[in-house]
Structures are given as structure tokens and as C-alpha cells.
């Protein structure tokens, strides 16, 4: 409870600020607040630039931000345990998805409705759709969702060896074989994080292209993953890449955070990454030109469409938080014009954050990459129910497949089982 003096000071501060610049946001009104908000997120979801903005936010509002960064392979279990036991942090990070925010996060119960926040109307409609339930917005996008998971490659190495951008799986294998002959490990893969190698499965869009109704059939439980020709091909080719040594020897213990350094070293030629790797490699090695990184779509299943996904890491305010107002101020600060510009400028992979007031920073190389693949197909993460919540389990299955503990067919059967378990637990009528 505020005393009279504090109330007076607060009112005075509000009046002064209200009378000053119109752009000054309301969070500056309470510069003397003694509140610490906790924000739990997976590794790589909170960039250094965000923490720097967090410090400025604290300077301006007095609200401290305690970032709790959890290793990505452990994050989902920890988050769900905290949500399910009612002991979550003030802010939590989670993947957006029209399906999983309802079935997994139960945002209607666990998160605060942010629809009336000033910044909410600036969120791009496609990104907002993946964060909304019944027209109410529950989350705030963190990352650039225009970026796709594509194969980022060292253009200089390709030029030196006379390699062309592959257009199908066979030509991709040719490229990898030539790289191996030159003593360069073709692809940097990092299974230990638990999630990155699953990004290769975004090429499941090949199944959607073969049958546009397939995602709907999966959602209605009228089709299964098991037995799908394109998906079997996708997992078989991935396993083949491991067996042929395209991922090198250390792919099981490599870490995602080390990818820019690995590419900068020249030891590896390619990595599945989103657009902006060039800036990150350049940060590791200033002699490495940003535009020396080019991109092409993963050629699994001979697919040449762009795998688009408007889902991505997002911030949610926990409904049980004692600091909801302070958390809202943090979100407002992060969505301001200045913060979005700062994030775009300082985070290499952020070229176009999903806000109408965010600047665009596509380089010619990246723009040329997007232009090269005019056909866009939504990935399973966005189009198939109970797929995103099973992401880490699928990752465990895939690593078992890499280690010869499971076959591609068994992985697909297990995905069906994982989805059925969640559907049954959710009393989904399509599964009953």
C-alpha cells in the first residue's frame, strides 16, 4: 500500500510526464518503483540486446528484470512443471502456435490478456493469430518470424570449390561429398540442444505439397504420420546424411550457440539457420564479411518451397504474477519503436520483427534468397495440432534414430503416439 507521500510523488511524476513528450511511454511514470520481475526463457530466446534494453528499462522505471535463462533441452519440462504447479515466473517465454497456446500453455488460464495494450495493434496479424484465442491476444512475439530455417552456407567455400546451390537431395549430396573431399565438414548440426535437429523436419511441407489436405486430415485424426511417403523419405534422407558423415563426428555434442564460431572457423561449410547468420559470424570474426553467408532451402524430399512459420518464441505474462502491471510495462517497453529498432540493429538474425512499427533490415543476399523461392508453405508447427508440443520428444526420437535405436518408420509411429496421448488427455473428440 502506498503512503500519501508516495502517492503524491507518483501523481506528480505522472503529471510531469503526461505533459512532456507524447511519445514518452507510461512506464517512465513510476521511476521509483522497487519491483523485480522475473522472466524465464529458453537459451537463445533472450538476446544480449534485450538484456541491454532491460537495463535501460530499469534505469527509466526502477523495475528490475531478473532473466532466468534455462538450457533449451530442459526448458519445456521446467516451464510446463512451473505452469502446472502454479509457480511460474512473472514473464515466461513460450513458442506461439494457435494450437499449443491452448492445449499446452492454457493461456486463457495461465496468461494475461494483452489485447488492450497499446502495442498490441502493432503486432503483425499473422503473428498475432498464432498468439490469440477467441480474438484475445495473450503473447508478444520475440523474434523475427519472417526468417525461415534454411541452409546457410559459406559462399567463399562454395566459390573456391566450384559448388552450385543444390536444387534437390541428390545435388545436395554431391555438394556434401565434394566438401568432404576437401576436408571440410559439410554441415554443423547440434543435437545436444534437443530442438535444432528437429528444424530439418520443417521439410514435412513436402507432404503438404503432395496433399494440401494432409494437415487438416492429421488434425481430424483421419491421417497418420506413419506410412506417409514424403515423411519417410525426409527421415530416411536425414539418417543417410548422418551415416555419410555430413554432420561430422561431433554432431551429438555440438551446441547451437557455437554455430557462428564453427562457420567462422571454416571447419564447417553449412548450418541450418535463420537469416542473419552472416552478422553473427561477423561478430565472431570481424574479417568474415556478413554477405559471405548465403542461403538455400533444405533440399530434403527434393523440396524447393519456402517453409514459412509465423510461430516463434514469445513473451507471456503469468496470470498468477504479483507484478502484472510491471510486466506489462516491460512488454510495452520492448514493443516501442526505439526498442524494436535497437533489437533489429543489434541482433543479426532479426531483419523484420513482426510489428508494424519495426524497421526492415533485409540485405540484398537475404532478399535474393526469399525471391528465389516464390512458393511458400506453412510448416507443421503452425498447421498441425499436437506437433509443436511434441517437438522435444521428436528430437529425442530423432537422436535415437541417428544412433540406430529407431528406424524412420518407428519415429513416425511414435509421433502419432505422442500426438494421440496429448489428444486423449485433452479429450479431443477427433481421437475419441
Amino acid at each position: 500500500m502506498l503512503n500519501k507521500h508516495e502517492k503524491l510523488m507518483k501523481a506528480l511524476a505522472v503529471s510531469v510526464l503526461a505533459g512532456s513528450m507524447a511519445a514518452a511511454l507510461s512506464f517512465t511514470a513510476a521511476a521509483d518503483e522497487d519491483v523485480t520481475i522475473t522472466y524465464m526463457a529458453s537459451q537463445d530466446w533472450v538476446q544480449d540486446a534485450e538484456m541491454e534494453l532491460g537495463e535501460k528499462f530499469t534505469e527509466e522505471t526502477g523495475i528490475k528484470v531478473d532473466y532466468q535463462i534455462v538450457p533449451s533441452d530442459q526448458y519445456e519440462s521446467l516451464l510446463m512443471t512451473k505452469l502446472n504447479t502454479g509457480e511460474c515466473t512473472d514473464l515466461f517465454g513460450g513458442q506461439s502456435s494457435q494450437f499449443s497456446i491452448v492445449n499446452q500453455f492454457h493461456v486463457e488460464e495461465n496468461a494475461v490478456d494483452l489485447t488492450d495494450e497499446e502495442w498490441a495493434e502493432n503486432v503483425e496479424p499473422a503473428a498475432a493469430f498464432e498468439l490469440s484465442v477467441d480474438g484475445k491476444l495473450y503473447g508478444q512475439p520475440v523474434q523475427d518470424v519472417s526468417a525461415v530455417w534454411a541452409v546457410a552456407y559459406n559462399r567463399q567455400i562454395f566459390e573456391d570449390l566450384g559448388l552450385e546451390i543444390p536444387t534437390d537431395y541428390a545435388s545436395f549430396c554431391d555438394v556434401c561429398d565434394k566438401l568432404l573431399e576437401a576436408d571440410i565438414i559439410p554441415v554443423y548440426e547440434c543435437v545436444s540442444d534437443g530442438w535444432h535437429h528437429v528444424c530439418w523436419t520443417e521439410k514435412a511441407i513436402a507432404a503438404t505439397e503432395a496433399d494440401p489436405e494432409y494437415p487438416d486430415k492429421l488434425n481430424k485424426n483421419e491421417a497418420t504420420f506413419a506410412g506417409n511417403e514424403q515423411l519417410i523419405t525426409m527421415f530416411t534422407e536425414l539418417k543417410e546424411m548422418v551415416d555419410k558423415g555430413y554432420f561430422g563426428d561431433n554432431y551429438m555434442s555440438n551446441q547451437y550457440a557455437d554455430a557462428p564460431a564453427a562457420i567462422a572457423s571454416g571447419e564447417y561449410a553449412m548450418v541450418l539457420y535463420n537469416q542473419g547468420l552472416g552478422v553473427e559470424v561477423n561478430a565472431v570474426d570481424p574479417d568474415f564479411p556478413v554477405d559471405n553467408i548465403g542461403y538455400f532451402v533444405s533440399p530434403l524430399c527434393d523440396n524447393q518451397s519456402l517453409n514459412v512459420n509465423y510461430c516463434g518464441p514469445s513473451r507471456f505474462i503469468y496470470s498468477g504474477s504479483a507484478n502484472i502491471d510491471a510486466a506489462k510495462k516491460y512488454l510495452a517497453y520492448m514493443a516501442s519503436d526505439e526498442s524494436l529498432a535497437y533489437m533489429t540493429e543489434n541482433v543479426g538474425k532479426f531483419n523484420q520483427l513482426p510489428y508494424l512499427n519495426a524497421p526492415s533490415a533485409y540485405s540484398d543476399v537475404i532478399q535474393e534468397f526469399y525471391d528465389r523461392y516464390p512458393n511458400k508453405v506453412a510448416v507443421f508447427q503452425a498447421s498441425v495440432k499436437y506437433y509443436n508440443p511434441a517437438w522435444m520428444d521428436i528430437g529425442a526420437d530423432m537422436s535415437a534414430m541417428f544412433l540406430d535405436e529407431m528406424t524412420p518408420e518407428e519415429v513416425l509411429e511414435d509421433i502419432d503416439k505422442l500426438r494421440a496421448e496429448q489428444a486423449a488427455a485433452a479429450s479431443d473428440e477427433c481421437w475419441n
Binding site: M80, T85, M252, S253, D393, S399, A400, E405
Partner: protein, 292 residues
Amino acid sequence: MNKNKIYPWYFMAGALVLYFVLFFLPGLIGVGYSFTNWSAYSTELRFVGLDNFRTVFSADENYTKIISNTLVFTFVTTIIKNALGLLLAILLTKSVRFLNLHRGIVFMPSVLSTLIIGMLFKSILDAKSGLLNTFLRSCGLGFLAQKWLVSTEFAFGSVMAVDIWRGVGYIMTIMIAGILSISTDYYEAAEIDGAGSFARFRYITFPLILPTLATTTVLNIIYGLKVFDMVYALTNGGPGKATTEVLYTAVFKKFGTGQYAVGTALSSVMFLIMLFVGYFMIRLMTRNEVIE
């Protein structure tokens, strides 16, 4: 125990009520939930009989492997920690220079946070740039360098080895207390009779330290069955599907994915195993007690 000195039963009523409400009742409710479809996905609660236990013991699932991993972990770490602990205790009860320093060094890992140890060893055991493999390669022993934490052959052994390294100092300390409580008269008499070092260990130290050994065994078994943080920090149950998964990491994951009922069923199985093991442990520890 003298029956005339038995206190009235109501002296323990307070403790009993607290134990019942805070420990027994939640445990009982947990077992009850394992017969339902309790989950985070639905507010409806339905009795499903033994369905969750069928899932736990189903051949299609990994739970039997998880249970067997837990038992193997418990068995192996208990034996090795006891053996190494006893060996170190014998060495460090001799006249050795800087005795307390040696004891302190061996004991130190026990007081470090398990999660920090896990993270340190994750780095030390890294296949490419970890300290261990780098050292082996620099000594010309590169052929011994392995993928310690990310291969199905070595991951479980590596996790157990790190846990033994962490826990052996604690066991050693208890053993040292046990050895120091043995009267030196026995050893002097044995020496006069011409007994060598091994004979003194075989006929004096070992029999008299058995009660201490029983205590450390119980501590190790309880710890082993409940192990969580070491596995969580080092491998999180991987690589692959369940190479190093143990019961508590599996229960944690089930709760994490909102499948509470299967999680409680797994916990109930764990409870039965601990009840079974505990019964024999208590018998072992009390078999030499004399009731007057």
C-alpha cells in the same frame, strides 16, 4: 529396551499427525491419482483402473528400461562408492602427511552443487574439446578418447562415474568415523600375534565396520533410487530415447508434459520398490540390536 520405561503413546501423537498429514496422506492421494486420467489437458477426472500401470509396464514404452536404469544406477554406484569409500577411509586413517588436506580434497565434491558439477563435467567430457579427451590426445592416448556423454555405449557409465566421484568423499567420511571408533587395543594385540596388514583388515576392521557399511549402503541405495539432478544436468536422460533416463527424470518430464497420472503411476512403482528395499534394509540394520 526396558518396557517399564516406555512413554505413553500420546507423546508421539503430534509427530504422528504431522507425519500423516504432510507425508503419508499426500503419498496416499498420489497413489490414488495413479488410477485416474489426471492431466493438465482436462479438468475432468475419471477412474481408469490399472491403465496407467499397464502403460508403465507396456512393452511399447520405455518405462521398464527406465526402471532398470534406476536399479542398475543404484546397484553400481552403491557398490563402487562403498568400496572406494572404504579404501580411501583406510588410507586416510593412517599416518599420512597433510592428512586433513587429503581428506578435505576427497570430501569437497560432496559439498558442491550437483548441478554445477554436472555442468562442469558436461564441459570436461565434451567429445571434441573437453579436458579429458584433450588430455588423452596430448598424451598420445587419442584412441581412448570417447564420446563420453553422447554415445549409447558410454553415456550411462559416464553419468555413474561422475556421481561416484561426487559421492565417494561423503561415504569415506562416514567410514573414517567408523574406523576411528574401533579400539586400537585390537590392532596392538593382533600385531603382537604377528597379524599382517591384510589380516588386521580382514579380521578386525571389516567385521567391526560392518554396521557403518550397512548405514552407507542404505544411504547410497536411497540416493540412487531417487537420483535426479546429476542425470538431469549431464544428459537429461539422453542421448536417444532413454539411454540414461531414470525414474525421477521421467516423472519430472511426465509432469512437465502435463501427464500427471502416468507420472504418479511411475512414482507409485518407485514407492513399492523403495518399500521392498527399505524392508530388507531395516532388517539388515537392526539384526544385531539387542532388545532387553
